[in-house]
Symmetry: C2
Subunit: 384 residues, 2 copies
């Protein structure tokens, strides 16, 4: 594959923020360009991953809006949307734009502004990422779809409440060490058991929150990165795959075929195996999703993700640290920003600048970003 590198990475604080959609996107982009040492005049194209700014903040056509605020001079600029995988999708378009030879330096932004929308509308908006005709119209929401997966995983493999709780406890623990995270509060198994039931067996603490935020990276060729002289991180491989939007059309509810396919493509492109991965940022929109992710990515056999999380194998100092950033559960989940934020965290880890949450020997990082209940999955592998 082409020699592609990330030369700049930054994100805003995640949480309930004062900034507007456009403010957050600009803030992350300006910081990423500064980190790269690339002036706006040298950006050849911009991609903006965002899920639903039309419904959240009445703003479609956001890519040229943000580009012109950044002072990018009439460059090609495009929004990508793949539900919660909108950000990583933008990242992949940026990679292909450089690989195609059409662009030298590309800015990729992921952003979402969610908290200015009344919460009862937010669940409805998010449900539009499911199959409207066969799922959302029938009353299914994302917590309920993932609850079905959790129940089946429990039934088939003996996954327990404690296994799921271990994921949330770990991710809150890691988030306490991430200044960009929405939550800076340790939680206990007791907190989780006492929390409101959202969709049985998932309580409030099994669910990622509603979040505002943005993240941005600058991509270029390895050759240009040498000229820039910064701390570049290589794209070792990437893969994307799709599946039916509706859960009931899939063969198996305990694994995401799109994740297995995307990971397989990324590993093949990089010439790496799961055992080569130092840490992973995975899409824990719900605790069960992280358990399934660690199985789909080949870190654990199918059905053994729950016990592995409970045994601490995915902790910061475990065999394969998962979500050192705090993940969607602890860091927050501004939908369109998440996929780019996973790349940002991976860059920080591989550079060794992740502070209190630094993974030891972080040589190869994996990102895993899921859209909807698994109809889109993007996996990337990053390293030195």
């Amino acid at each position: 594959m082409a020699d592609l590198v990330v030369v700049g990475a930054a994100e805003t604080k995640f949480g309930k923020l004062d900034g507007s959609f456009r403010d957050l996107a600009v803030e992350a982009a300006v910081a990423a360009l500064a980190d790269a040492g690339v002036p706006a005049s040298q950006v050849d194209a911009m991609y903006l991953g965002t899920f639903s700014p039309g419904t959240f903040v009445h703003q479609e056509h956001p890519a040229p809006l943000v580009a012109s605020m950044l002072g990018l001079s009439h460059v090609p600029t495009t929004r990508t949307e793949n539900a919660c995988a909108s950000g990583s999708t933008a990242f992949l378009q940026g990679l292909m734009a450089v690989a195609s030879g059409m662009c030298d330096t590309v800015l990729v932004i992921g952003a979402e502004k969610m908290t200015s929308t009344p919460i009862e509308e937010t669940t409805q908006i998010l449900a539009e990422a499911a199959d409207w005709e066969s799922e959302a119209l029938a009353g299914a929401t994302f917590p309920s779809l993932f609850a079905l997966m959790a129940r089946r995983h429990m039934h088939q493999f003996g996954t327990t409440r404690d296994h799921l709780s271990a994921v949330a406890i770990k991710n809150h623990h890691n988030a306490c060490r991430n200044p960009y995270a929405q939550f800076h509060r340790e939680i206990t198994a007791g907190d989780i058991a006492a929390a409101a039931m959202i969709a049985d067996p998932l309580t409030l603490y099994d669910c990622s929150p509603v979040t505002d935020g943005a993240a941005a990276v600058v991509i270029t060729s390895g050759e240009r990165a040498v000229d820039l002289g910064g701390d570049a991180v290589r794209v070792l491989g990437f893969g994307q795959a799709s599946d039916s939007l509706s859960l009931f059309r899939r063969e198996d509810m305990t694994s995401l075929t799109a994740a297995r396919k995307a990971a397989g493509r990324a590993y093949a492109m990089a010439g790496l195996n799961p055992s080569d991965v130092s840490f992973a940022e995975v899409h824990d929109c719900f605790t069960i999703a992280e358990v399934i992710a660690t199985e789909d990515l080949g870190f654990f056999p199918h059905g053994e993700g729950g016990p592995a999380a409970f045994a601490g194998e995915t902790a910061l100092d475990g065999r394969i640290p998962v979500n050192p950033s705090g993940g969607l559960k602890g860091k927050g989940h501004p939908v369109g920003a998440t996929g780019v934020s996973q790349v940002v965290e991976s860059v920080f880890q591989i550079r060794g600048t992740a502070g209190e949450r630094q993974v030891a020997n972080a040589r190869v990082g994996l990102t895993h970003n899921v859209g909807g209940s698994g109809a889109t999955c993007v996996v990337t592998l990053l390293g030195k």
Copy 2:
């Protein structure tokens, strides 16, 4: 540039249709694959350009939905959005995916389902492609923004009511010869003058309609096209550019800088000049937009597009036929489908299969797709 070709092209009838969003996208895609002689199993990736399915039909995350309905096997699939230029944006991502070497054969679809939404909501949804904070919230709609451009063009260059009417009359005339078009009815200058005033000076007949429809093309490399043995059309060049979303931030209201930049890039890539173009499919969302387009693309000097249209220079048998398909005005404007439909029409023209609306000696075709009031523009050049 890489040797990129379109090997399959098709579209649905445009109009107020019974089919749902997903039905229309699938119908166009199946027909394009059949035209290409490419089975679904040989598609490596799919791009879907669509503006606002979340607000129009409550369906975000549409790309994997359509891909799975088509039986595409877990391929990477992505939605692109750039307002009314969403379709051409998808086409460009498809071109870059093949040029990057990541994909061999890519399916590109543009689709929009607009007529199931109450008409009073439709104008509101479309206004979200303008700058919500500085334009839409202040009451500006797209007819009003283009009316401002028209007034300025009239003031500065002496463009008249008759000049604008000539565009609508021609495009309805051409649409009568296009079986896919929404309108099959000739109109007169009297009809236009007698029609309801929408935003002075634009009457109902200066405005493109609300439309359902979809269009699709299959892209591959020149090498693979030889194996397929069909009637391939080459991509000679393409360009995309952006501008501020809000009209008041631009230097000039009588020209779209993004269109001039995009055209310049496409001409440079192809090594062609405006005089080499045999016909053009341009973005006549309003009659004034076609006048400005023919100037921005270099067919006529700045300010002389109106008289040229009135003199018949853009007619089917004129010096440079513009919108032989009937354009957005006559063929209809299903927002996300339009950019892909322009490519489809160009393929038909260059193949010589455009029937009653066939342009003589159609060797080089140009497409010009605009998002919003000009914040995005994509230009492509196609030929043998």
